[in-house]
Amino acid sequence: MSLATRSLPRTIGAHAILLTYTAIALFPVILVIMNSFKSRAGIFGAPLTPPTPKTFDLIGYTTVFGQGDFIHYFQDSLVVTVASLFFVLLFGAMAGFALSEYRFRGNTMMGLYLALGIMIPIRLGTVAILQLMVASGLVNTLTALILVYTAQGLPLAIFILSEFMKQVSDDLKNAGRIDGLSEYTIFFRLVLPLVRPSMATVAVFTMIPIWNDLWFPLILAPSEETKTVTLGAQLFLGQFVTNWNAILAALSLAILPVLILYVIFSRQLIRGITSGAVK
């Protein structure tokens, strides 16, 4: 910002608002991480203070790694999230390209139909989905979860990506056609790199609900081999006794992978914006 457009009170005001928001957003996360390093007495005695030498205790983490197969749960969550993300991005981008690039009968209707899923939550269909999975023998498999999450993520992905695909220069695609590139090459080599920032946005929006979901793992894949982290953490939630140390430790650990994925995508996002391709 130039000196001429800067004013001290406005700068202070803006920063105050942003800092307040940051504090509110980070508060629960920090609380969880802080308390995960404390003893049970420490958590209940003074939940808002950071761990002191007296209350510091790694009992939560040792329980998590000792009891239950948490590494395995992490692996399941990661497989489900990454695979679903891959399919959502691939099919979402392909459908978005078709809707924005080709004129065919029913194009608009197809676009509306595909976007319908944004308004109707997929959980309304849980019973039908369960019956379907039972009938096809997919219960207690990660495939079931991947299929459901792909379906859940696609509507928004198609909606956003088709809008962005419309902005890709027609001339560029036509130049590719004249040079003899196939439609697939045009899509993968010319169009996809140009919509990378929007792909990153869609990836972030799709990834977080999948990683955090408890509903479908609980219903479709509750077996020990297919448990995800969120479901695994339920192990420590008892009807009478809840092992808060372990739960907080499990939740703290669950933040990590999703944070790493987010950092990867947000870097793509920034790189995509700054590289400025056409014109």
């Binding site: 001339d171 036509n174 056609r177 040079d179 590139l181 056409v278």
Partner: protein
């Protein structure tokens, strides 16, 4: 090598008819310019020739062969786009090489053609750069280079100068003209700028609302326009059109170009007041509000001092006055 024939080509997008039956013959080595106002169908026609759009009916023949169902890459054409349309992830060299690689041209031959084209367009220092590192003029030269290396039967230009600034536009126009002289290739060029059309073309095709209004050399169109539309479109400033009835003529409309009017302070055919004067140095454009003829433009060569509000008499050159009938056609 490089003739084109278009037979009764029609194109409709749903109920909207964009091309209403186009017939055209382009002989080998000709530079043909499609010109017309926006929405007249000139770009659509070019896309039909390129194979990027299907025609609703009619045939396109390149070198006598019907290419209506041939994919663009196999038609032996090359196209230069308004927005350059360079591949952003490839270097200048690879941008030019891509089409040839796709066609399976041997590497040594690709190398040779790129060398020739980059010398011709003075692109040698930039071969390893990416499009983002080039200026607008350089990018358009790369786009032209990409077309040249294909050694096509037909060059197609889709408003290639519209994104360049005025000075660069003149330079690039010159380069395209030289390119045509050197390659002796058939070129089809789309523009809405009649100056580009007049300066580049062997043959101009004037399009309006999906129809060809007239085909002819630049001077033919200037000297003997077939109808009111062509007369108004070719020439700048625009031809003056005066209601025939106001002048007591039998023709519906009388047309006279601004440069074919002379002015005098004392006497003349049409008395009028100066509304505005534009001094361009080499010539002066006067806007006169005449009692008989209405608002007209007069172009005077050299400097002419006229104050707004002063009275002047304008006289048309009788030999260069056009008479149009009720249907817009020229009356002989």
């Amino acid at each position: 090598m490089g003739s084109l024939k278009i037979e009764n080509v029609k194109k409709a997008f749903g109920p909207v008819e964009v091309l209403k039956g186009i017939d055209l013959q382009v002989t080998d080595g000709e530079f043909v310019v499609f010109v017309g106002p926006s929405g007249c169908g000139k770009s659509t026609l070019l896309r039909v020739i390129a194979g990027l759009e299907d025609s609703t009916s009619g045939r396109v023949l390149i070198d006598g062969a019907d290419v209506s169902v041939t994919p663009p890459a196999k038609r032996g054409i090359a196209m230069v786009f308004q927005t350059y349309a360079l591949y952003p992830h490839l270097t200048v060299k690879n941008n030019m090489a891509l089409g040839l690689k796709q066609a399976g041209t041997p590497a040594a031959e690709i190398e040779r053609r790129i060398k020739v084209a980059s010398v011709m367009l003075s692109l040698e220092p930039y071969l390893e750069r990416r499009p983002a590192e080039l200026s607008g003029g350089q990018r358009q030269r790369v786009a032209i280079g990409r077309a040249v290396v294909r050694e096509p039967k037909l060059f197609l230009f889709d408003e290639p100068l519209s994104n360049l600034d005025a000075a660069l536009r003149v330079n690039t126009r010159l380069e395209i003209a030289q390119l045509h002289r050197r390659l002796k290739a058939t070129m089809i060029y789309v523009t809405h700028d009649q100056v580009e059309a007049m300066t580049l073309a062997d043959k101009i095709v004037v399009l309006n609302a999906g129809r060809i209004e007239q085909i002819g050399s630049p001077m033919e169109l200037y000297n003997s326009p077939a109808n009111e539309f062509v007369a108004g479109f070719i020439g700048s400033p625009k031809m003056n059109f005066i209601d025939g009835a106001r002048l007591g003529e039998t023709a519906k409309t009388i047309g006279v170009r601004p440069e074919h009017l002379s002015v005098d302070t004392k006497s003349g055919a049409w008395k009028g007041t100066v509304v505005h004067a534009e001094h361009l140095g080499a010539d002066t454009n006067l806007y006169l509000d005449c009692e008989k003829a209405g608002l007209i433009t007069v172009r005077i060569f050299g400097v002419y001092n006229a104050e707004p509000g002063s009275t002047l008499y304008a006289t048309p050159d009788a030999a260069k006055t056009y008479r149009f009938g009720g249907d817009g056609k020229v009356l002989k």
